[in-house]
């Protein structure tokens, strides 16, 4: 298979397969969690679990009173990375072109310089959290192989994308193949690693809010 043939495969069937694995895997993961169920609560409720659950889903997205430097760092670096990654993914003109070729849908792109900034910010935030993971005794103790594996899987599409845009390192076609494959691996990994938190975070927050809300407490 030539480089161009490989590129055609990863852009076509490769991407379709990884998307299918992502969607099916994530659906399975969410259904598996849901069907584990939980016991019916026979105590008389004081508040609405639904309303409190929804509120907790929202309020946990922000700083909370009494937060320490560790907390501020987590929230700020988390937002920087996630926003940097999502903006780069959704508003880079060549990504939009790819979406358009698939779905017919398109939207305005951001200027290349802005995309470079969002990608660099995303990478910088990832580097910061990695350094902190080693430097902070609490985070270091908690960390396992998936924390590091997921870091690598997440940083690769951003780094290879930047190299590609600025034509650094490998020939363009080879680098494009590497870039697309790195994204496809990330897609497939999401349902099968802790990266699945991008979806389950809403379930966890809802349960937290619902459990407290049943007792009339907004958590």
């Amino acid at each position: 298979m030539t480089g161009v043939e490989l590129l055609i495969w990863v852009r076509g069937p490769g991407l379709q397969l990884s998307l299918a694995a992502f969607i099916l895997g994530m659906t399975y993961r969410i259904l598996q969690t849901y069907f584990l169920g939980r016991a019916k609560n026979l105590a008389e409720p004081r508040g609405s679990p639904w309303i409190h659950g929804m509120k907790t889903m929202w309020w946990r997205s922000f700083f909370h009173p009494g937060m320490t430097i560790r907390g501020y760092f987590t929230i700020i670096s988390g937002y920087t990375f996630h926003l940097g990654f999502i903006i780069t993914l959704l508003f880079f003109d060549q990504h939009i072109e790819l979406f358009k070729s698939w779905t017919g849908l398109s939207w305005p792109a951001l200027p290349p310089l802005v995309i470079t900034v969002t990608a660099v910010l995303g990478i910088a935030a990832l580097v910061a959290v990695l350094v902190d993971r080693f430097a902070d005794p609490v985070r270091y103790l908690l960390s396992d192989y998936q924390d590091y594996l997921c870091w690598v899987l997440t940083v690769l599409p951003l780094v290879t994308g930047l190299l590609l845009v600025y034509k650094i390192w490998l020939p363009y076609t080879s680098l494009l193949v590497v870039h697309i494959i790195s994204f496809e691996i990330l897609l497939v990994a999401i349902p099968f690693t802790k990266l699945s938190h991008v979806f389950t975070i809403f379930i966890a927050r809802w349960y937290n809010g619902a459990i407290a809300g049943y007792k009339g407490v907004q958590s």
């Binding site: 969690t33 584990l36 937060m67 902070d136």
Partner: protein, 428 residues
């Protein structure tokens, strides 16, 4: 692996439900829960990070419910949870966790960590790993009826003194009373003024109430140690007495975990809703206040604050009631910086105060409350939990702090408008 450890691991597996799975799936190991735990903040030891205390349960979840975990287990590559590991985790799960739930309020991804600690304790006790002090307290609760070994004659003796002091009759085993009051052994032995206080308030408000001679104990060591079977047995005794006396309400006393046990876990433990309503004494007092049946006179002039018992406030939902009640009798009520649902625990909840091995750690954890009190500059602290009260008094004494600790009900009773004490409490 012994039979008990196998049973413990099986119990842990059975306790993995949808919330637990979603919590473990979502945890990003950020460590923010450490800053919410007074055992971490006062020691800076990373092992006291709340989510770390669940590591064995997390691994079981990983092995049972994740692709890589199941694959590794099939290939014999996963590390099984062992007796040695559970033994090592005993200190983390019992000594350094009061189940205060503050960590559950701060996790950015929404993990209710104390929900999982409660489940973890079920597995730990089934495996035979629980502190000896807590085991002994639970055994006394089951065999004698009280974790402190208090039998009814001891309560009867206290009642005699209270009746002599107040001139009021304390009703016992009165069928058809509207309210059945429960007590904690700590109140009976260390703070009997609570009983006198509610007697005065109830007499004043013309409330028909009773104590059950065979089920006066509200505390539930089964909840603290993590044994649902034993916890259910203790709840059943209260339910049987309430049904026998045909009361409409059961009053949970100034005790944190008793409220959790009776109000929130009880019906689930026994598998059926109650035929009566559980009401916390603070809720009842606040209802009386709203009905103008709690007239008070005079106010405490000194600046004072309120220590929120975690299980009544953050985990119980009784948040505003103590504040409205305190406002009636306090001229200068000041809140600590973190209060209400974000309060800091006294350090003795969740069975820690019954666990002699944890005594030193408990006093270290108390430093959080010491700093709060010093920052506020108060000499009077009001609370609504006998266990918090004894823990606070110990901590204050250890640190040579001149702070008086008062119970809320007795503080209100002291400010009741003058009533005749010659009459006996009306009973149907």
């Amino acid at each position: 692996m012994t039979v008990s450890v196998e049973r413990g691991i099986q119990t842990l597996k059975e306790h993995i439900d949808a919330p637990v799975a979603s919590f473990f799936t979502t945890c990003v190991h950020c460590g923010m829960c450490a800053d919410a735990c007074l055992f971490y903040t006062e020691t800076k030891d990373p092992k006291y990070t709340p989510i770390y205390k669940l590591k064995p349960l997390r691994r079981l979840w990983h092995q049972e419910y994740t692709f890589w975990g199941k694959l590794a287990a099939k290939l014999g590559l996963s590390k099984p949870v062992t007796a040695a590991e559970l033994k090592a985790w005993e200190e983390l799960v019992y000594d350094s966790c009061t189940m205060c739930g503050r960590c559950s309020m701060t996790c950015p991804v929404g993990n209710d960590i104390v929900y999982m600690i409660r489940k973890m304790r079920e597995g730990m006790v089934a495996a035979g790993f629980a502190p000896s002090g807590l085991k002994a307290a639970t055994e006394r609760a089951i065999t004698i009826g009280s974790p402190m070994g208090v039998k009814f004659p001891a309560l009867k003796n206290q009642i005699k003194h209270i009746e002599a002091d107040t001139g009021l009759q304390i009703p016992v085993d009165v069928e058809g009373a509207e309210y059945m009051a429960l007590l904690s052994s700590m109140e009976i032995m260390n703070f009997p003024e609570y009983i006198g206080a509610i007697a005065k308030i109830f007499h004043n408000a013309d409330i028909s109430w009773t104590i059950a001679s065979d089920a006066f104990e509200a505390t539930n060591s089964g909840i603290q140690i993590g044994s649902s079977d034993l916890a259910a047995e203790l709840v059943e005794r209260v339910v049987a007495a309430a049904e026998r006396l045909r009361v409409a309400f059961v009053i949970s006393p100034e005790c944190g975990h008793a409220y959790t046990a009776l109000r929130w876990e009880g019906p689930n433990l026994i598998g059926r809703p109650y035929p009566f309503e559980v009401i916390h004494i603070l809720e009842l007092l606040d209802r009386l206040r709203a009905q103008n049946r709690l007239p008070v006179t005079g106010k405490i002039k000194e600046k004072l604050t309120f220590h929120d018992p975690c299980q009544i406030v953050r985990r119980g939902g009784v948040v505003d009631e103590p504040r409205r009640l305190l406002d009636m009798v306090a001229a200068d009520f000041a809140e600590m910086e973190d209060h209400g649902i974000m309060n800091w625990c006294c350090g003795g909840g969740g069975g820690v105060s019954a666990n002699e091995r944890a005594a030193k750690l408990k006093l270290t954890a108390f430093n959080r409350k010491r700093h709060q009190l010093e920052a506020l500059g108060v000499n009077t602290l009001v609370t609504a939990c006998a266990n918090c009260r004894i823990t606070l008094e110990e901590g204050l004494e250890f640190n040579n702090m001149d702070v008086a600790v008062l119970g809320l009900a007795e503080t209100l009773a002291e400010h009741l408008e003058e009533q005749s004490t010659s009459a006996t409490t009306e009973t149907p």
